[in-house]
Symmetry: C2
Subunit: 457 residues, 2 copies
């Protein structure tokens, strides 16, 4: 008889939604470098940031306050799906035969399907409050775009989304979801911007990347005085908004009577790693034995193979210049299924903790990630987004290492979103054709753009 | 400033998962008629039922015990996602300007996406316990198939699913999900059974129906001594398993300090209406002023336009004969997007309470259903399955009637599953082409099969 003891769960009551966002900046060994205004070559002014961003966001970006109170309407909206559960993957542990405990924070309960809604609601709220009519943004696989589309609909704002072309075609359901919420969605590169049209002229089959989508979104913001750019990852304020994840995890682990030995999150740019792990960083700095691991794709190995230096945040070089890990802003990652991880750089705050040795990083091949995802789905039922599956793969590897060493460690990973709209990728995995795609991907020699990227600035 | 007070929620702790299933049979004004064995024309014997069904299911089908204890392993598995939340759709109420409260039981949190997992886990558990290696079933839109695929994977059973051809093509993602869990999925009609091959010979573009899929599944069960048929709706035991929904709702409403005035569920065959509403039926029989409403598609109006009589449960007539509301077992509903509602009949227990005047019924056009679904998604974020959207449409109609009369009623509907794998249908709605499809559907004169159905027996 199979064992149907599948999970242990820690649910929090709705009044335990955190009241404040946690800002890691004052707790870091040093302050992040300021953004550069590429037009002047000088540090970006507040005026520069406020032309791009909603004013409140520009202010939060430079804040050195440790705790920032969540506006009550935003906290009210969080009650739609928060707090999210912390779940112990008992069936997966049994399958692996590991003495370790594997816990995951399940952010896939949000109506848009991922953690991204945490920041989307905050950004839409402030945009409305500050009198804007329209937000413009980029999205990779569409998790951020879906979240912002819902948030804008709730706030009565217009939204234009540039969706990376590879995902626009491979993940049509996320586009349909955005459109159902009322957003306008364009592929990037598109013919609708000067930057996009120019890219397509030079490479008609350009698959796009987060960086090209940012460039097109920024061009539209510059062309429209009333619109502002909404940021799905990267920015300090975006990571800040997601720290409600880690704060809930702290409380849930305390209820479960566990302290974390490993904290694992996927990283494209860093929003979910930041939100999940930052609230634990000062424990680590105070001496707690916590290993924090970023899981990224081999096809876009920013933290494992990139370098820490000044680079552009977007492909066109019109966005701000920033110090962080980068593969070069002109790096075009192969069209892997984890579209949300196809960004050449990472959030400056994630780059900083990586450089300071606070953050470990691992990179995985796409087939190994899907193998881990399918195993997880078959044990625990929940189908992970390919992005989240990177964290699952890392968690499984650590659990198997614990099996070898006999260590009963507590592994906690962030299950950032469900993969129900990524089922086309699963079907390719089921059919055994995923490996072929991946091998084709790696015809592009991954290190090459690194060598040429130095010319960026 | 938009109002972000979107919901009120009542969550139950995990130890409040019901310990027993509620069997409505002993509380009904009369017992349901026994099934007929069509080979003999006589009432079906236990032996007949046990050849089709897992033994424990055949026993539950005839049970007159009011409460049946849930096996502890099944209850453990329910902890994967249960209890599910009861949510008040505050934003929708505000949008409608109604004095009524609109609550919904959100069954979409299950890993397979709908309430169907409640019975799938129970049936897979008993099949394993009783020594079977394989289950065979039918599925419409794939909600039941996905649930059973996961349940069989958890129990280590093989599964063969016949998926209605219209949905097999229009809802590929549900098929991919079943395959990811490890099930074999075939379209119905298929060339792999005698019944299916014969249908296709006569009508190569046959869209299939729940009834054709049942026929093919039954044929395979008859051909395989070790396999048994798993039932996604219809059977008493299936509705029984879902009564944990209504039991949770009772407790949640009590916590919210409300008593229900309207209980609304979509009906294809009746599994979610039964599970949701049966635990309230004896309150109604005891005099409580509760209106119970079944919401069905105009394209398959079993309860609003069918007749109560003896008919076959499947299209081939090899399955059991049964007394209930039916459109005729040879009725082929047009390929609407709510694939889960395309069944010519309804569960005998649902038919019985309909005949006894306990159950009201309404039927809706597909476009009106999608309009309600999109409004709901834009207000509350959660994207409903087209099946569930029938209940939303009915709830909105009642809420608007309350607005006219000024009645502060408590409306509760069952949100049986999410629509994330139905986004292709939403895209057609967004693009404005859904109406065309529907009008084309209705070129088939809906009442016609009713007139000809009498020849069925």
């Amino acid at each position: 008889m199979s064992n149907l003891n599948l999970v242990e769960r820690v649910d929090l009551p709705v009044d335990r939604i955190p009241e404040r966002w946690y800002n890691i900046v004052p707790d870091l060994p040093e302050l992040p470098e300021r953004y550069l205004d590429n037009a002047t070559g000088k540090p970006a002014t507040q005026e520069y940031l406020e032309r791009l961003l909603v004013k409140a966001m520009a202010a939060q970006e430079s804040s050195i306050e440790r705790w920032i109170t969540i506006p009550e309407p935003v906290r009210e909206a969080y009650r739609l799906w928060r707090p999210t559960p912390l779940i112990r993957a008992v069936a997966l542990e049994r399958e692996l035969g590991t003495p370790a405990q594997i816990w995951f924070k399940y952010e896939g309960t949000s109506p848009s399907g991922s953690h991204k809604l945490n920041s989307a609601i905050a950004q839409a709220y402030y945009a409305k409050r500050d009198g804007h009519q329209k937000l413009i943004t980029d999205t990779g696989a569409g998790q951020w775009g879906s979240a912002l589309a819902l948030a804008c609909r709730l706030m009565g704002l217009d939204l234009l989304v540039f969706m990376v072309r590879a995902s626009f075609h491979h993940k049509p359901y996320r586009r349909y979801l955005m459109e159902t919420y009322g957003a306008e969605v364009r592929p990037s590169p598109s013919e609708t911007t000067r930057f996009g049209a120019d890219l397509l002229r030079r490479r008609p089959d350009h698959p796009g990347s987060e960086a090209t989508a940012v460039s097109e979104a920024l061009e539209c913001v510059y062309d429209n005085e009333d619109a502002r750019f909404a940021v799905g990852a990267f920015a300090n304020f975006c990571l800040l908004h997601h720290t409600i994840i880690g704060q809930e995890v702290r409380e849930q682990l305390a209820i479960a009577g566990r302290t974390p030995d490993y904290l694992i999150a996927p990283v494209g740019c860093g929003s979910n790693l930041g939100g999940f792990a930052f609230p634990f960083v000062h424990d680590k700095l105070d001496g707690a034995d916590i290993t924090i691991i970023a899981a990224e794709p081999e096809a876009c190995p920013t933290l494992t193979r990139g370098e820490f230096r000044l680079d552009f945040a977007d492909a066109s070089g019109r966005g701000p210049g920033v110090y962080t890990y980068t593969l070069g802003h002109d790096y075009v990652p192969p069209p892997i299924h984890a579209g949300g991880l196809r960004y050449h750089g990472c959030a400056p705050l994630v780059g900083l903790i990586r450089r300071e040795g606070i953050l470990d990083a691992v990179a995985f091949a796409q087939t190994d990630v899907f193998r881990a995802a399918a195993l997880f789905a078959r044990c625990q039922g929940y189908l992970p987004a390919p992005e989240s599956a990177h964290a699952i793969k890392a968690a499984i590897d650590v659990a198997l290492e614990c099996k070898r060493t006999g260590r009963a460690a507590t592994i906690v990973f962030n299950y950032s979103g469900h993969g129900l709209l990524d089922l086309e990728a699963y079907e390719r995995f089921n059919a055994g054709t995923l490996r072929d795609i991946e091998e084709e991907d790696f015809v592009l020699p991954v290190p090459a753009p690194l060598a040429s990227a130095g010319a960026g600035l």
